[in-house]
């Protein structure tokens, strides 16, 4: 963190060197004051902007139309809940969506104020949010807010809820969802969750966190690798591959209770679990009959039936949202490409043609967009492809070279993926046009394999 000190102090240092001894004590006092002022300023910055310290929103691309919104610090939020900035979480959520631009919001307003709209129009805000956080006698927190349409000058809505301390973050995310829905008409994803894997030294964890990467909780802690996590459609279970038995085995785990069961441990490797939209079936990759092929299995673990029959590698299945077909990766044509097959088997249709290495398919909730990783000249990059046909060309969303594991947000407006920055694995979100990207909180461990959970916790 850089502290800017006025030039006059620096000049006085130079002057002090040539001054007679008697004058120096005064300048030494000034220098000491500057030093302590600098410390105090740094401390103040650290306390007042925890949200900014946690993420960085990089906006690339000119002319992105964004709704300017002013979010005033909630009354008493620093006093009632000093460890998190409630309004900061709301601001960060809305900015990360790419749809909003945060406007400076000084002053002290709350949900009962009568803000002067001309003042806010003068600040070029289209919307205004103010609220309060009050600690209740029973230890819970009363969180209230109001949303104004600055242009029209009317109240768009507001809410008040009482929450436990443990749910303060969630309360902030729900406020962001409310604002997002009121102003865009789309459902917000800020109170959804993500899962991802961390690797630190020789320890691996599978974690569940808020969609902004905060509040991560460990679901599985292992000395052996964990890969390919997958949320069940109801958000209650995670399927994943664990190497704890010195081979790849698929497990399903109830995130709330920690109860886990072996879903597939056949001869050879068992991997790449993918849930059907109705949660009754999983597609996965088994090598039980030699070669990696796609199979279907009941979510209870039985009734294994083979789906693909090729002499190639078939893997990484992903159900289409209507549950009727499955996208997957196959190298039956030479290098790995993305194909589609009906859940009943039968005709296999090739989907990707550009380049010779296309993997990790993810389908948008409306079934219209494919996100995947394509190797171009040694770089592994996130691409999207319009599935409506008609000769659409793939579009690169990033200019990084080590992207992996794309996953759509349940409203289809954002993609989370893993990438590499400054030698470390990090989690990123991007808008579908690639213009607004954000890096999520990362710990000291490498983070990889993110998957976005469904609506509802």
């Amino acid at each position: 963190m850089m502290v800017i000190v006025p030039d006059s102090f620096a000049a006085s240092d130079a002057a002090a060197a040539t001054m007679p001894q008697t004058r120096r004590p005064v300048l030494r006092w000034l220098a000491a004051l500057r030093a302590s002022f600098g410390l105090a300023l740094a401390a103040a910055l650290a306390f007042s902007a925890p949200a900014q310290a946690q993420f960085r929103v990089e906006i690339s691309g000119v002319g992105a139309t964004q709704l300017p919104i002013a979010i005033v610090k909630f009354r008493d939020e620093e006093r009632s809940a000093p460890s998190l900035s409630l309004s900061g979480i709301v601001r960060a959520d809305l900015e990360r969506s790419g749809v909003f631009k945060s406007i400076d919001a000084p002053g002290a307003l709350d949900e009962n104020s009568q803000p002067v709209m001309t003042e806010w129009r003068g600040r070029a805000a289209d919307a205004l949010v103010a609220g309060s956080v009050t600690r209740l006698a029973d230890g819970r927190f009363d969180v209230r807010f109001k949303l104004w349409d600055v242009v029209k000058g009317n109240v768009l809505g507001g809410q008040s809820t009482a929450v436990d301390a443990a749910d303060l973050r969630l309360a902030a995310h729900r406020i962001a969802d409310f604002i997002y829905e009121k102003l865009t008409g789309d459902k917000g994803v800020f109170s959804t969750r993500i899962a991802y894997v961390t690797k630190g030294g020789s320890r691996y964890t599978l974690r569940v966190a808020d969609a902004d990467g905060e509040g991560g909780q460990v679901a599985l802690n292992s000395p052996e690798p964990i890969i390919s996590p997958a949320w069940s459609p109801d958000g209650k279970q995670l399927a994943y591959v664990s190497f704890e038995k010195q081979k790849a085995v698929v497990y399903a785990q109830d995130t709330s209770s920690g109860a886990r069961r072996e879903l597939a441990n056949f001869r050879g490797s068992n991997s790449a679990p993918a849930w059907s939209p109705d949660g009754q079936t999983l597609a996965l990759t088994l090598s039980r009959e030699h070669g990696s092929q796609l199979y279907l299995i009941d979510s209870g673990g039985g009734n294994v039936r083979r789906l693909t029959t090729s002499n190639a590698i078939d893997t990484e299945p992903a159900f289409a949202p209507d549950g009727r077909s499955i996208y997957f990766v196959s190298d039956r044509g030479g290098g790995p490409q993305i194909y589609r097959i009906g859940v009943g088997g039968g005709n296999v249709e090739r989907i990707t043609f550009g380049g010779n290495y296309n993997i990790s398919p993810a389908i948008s909730p409306d079934g219209r967009t494919l996100a995947y990783i394509s190797r171009q000249g040694g770089a592994f990059r996130l691409y999207t492809l319009d599935l409506s046909g008609g000769g659409a060309q793939p579009v690169a969303l990033t200019d990084t070279s080590d992207d992996e594991s794309p996953s759509f947000a349940p409203n289809g407006r954002l993609i989370i993926y893993a990438s590499r920055a400054q030698g470390r694995d990090v989690l990123m979100t991007t808008t579908l046009d690639g213009k607004i990207k954000a890096r999520l909180v990362s710990t000291t461990a490498d983070v990889r394999e993110p998957v976005w959970g469904p609506f509802g916790r």
């Binding site: 890969i227 010195q246 050879g268 990759t285 090598s287 590698i313 893997t315 990766v329 290495y357 190797r375």
Partner: protein, 188 residues
Amino acid sequence: MNQNSILRLAGPARLLSLSTLVAAAVLLAGCSSSVPLNDAGGAPVESRTIGGSGAGTGGASESRVTPVDLSKGANDANGGAQNIVYFDFDSYVVKDEYRPIIDRFAKALAADRKKHLQVEGHTDERGGREYNLALGQKRAEAVAKSLALLGAADTQVEAVSFGKERPAAQGSDETAYAKNRRAELNYR
């Protein structure tokens, strides 16, 4: 240096020079024995070279001990690991140079049907995790097939893969990549 010169030296230098002269005199006195150098009646001097059993061995040491390491992946005398088969980039072909290793394991399995072997395939770090898991599986299955052809029973061998999750060597260069493209044979 004549006597006059030594006497002109000061202190320790003089002492050193005098000592050297005295020592030289003593040595010379000792050498003047009564035995002539080429006396035909004297005892023969035995010549022995240390560390050899005679002509033709080129200097092999008497003290050499060659270690035998039974731990996993240890190198044999030729510098190759006893239980690892290495692969070329993008390939799962078992090269001829690894036939002896596979042969050894196949014979051991055929001789003891209770033994169970896990063949573990690996890839280098480039590329996707699941696709690499499948590539590692292909490498393991290629070795398992060779084992079966050489006498191992199907039930004794399980081919599995770690993909790129368990590198033997860290690094993003060809040296590291080459060390990671492998199949390990481990009794389990």
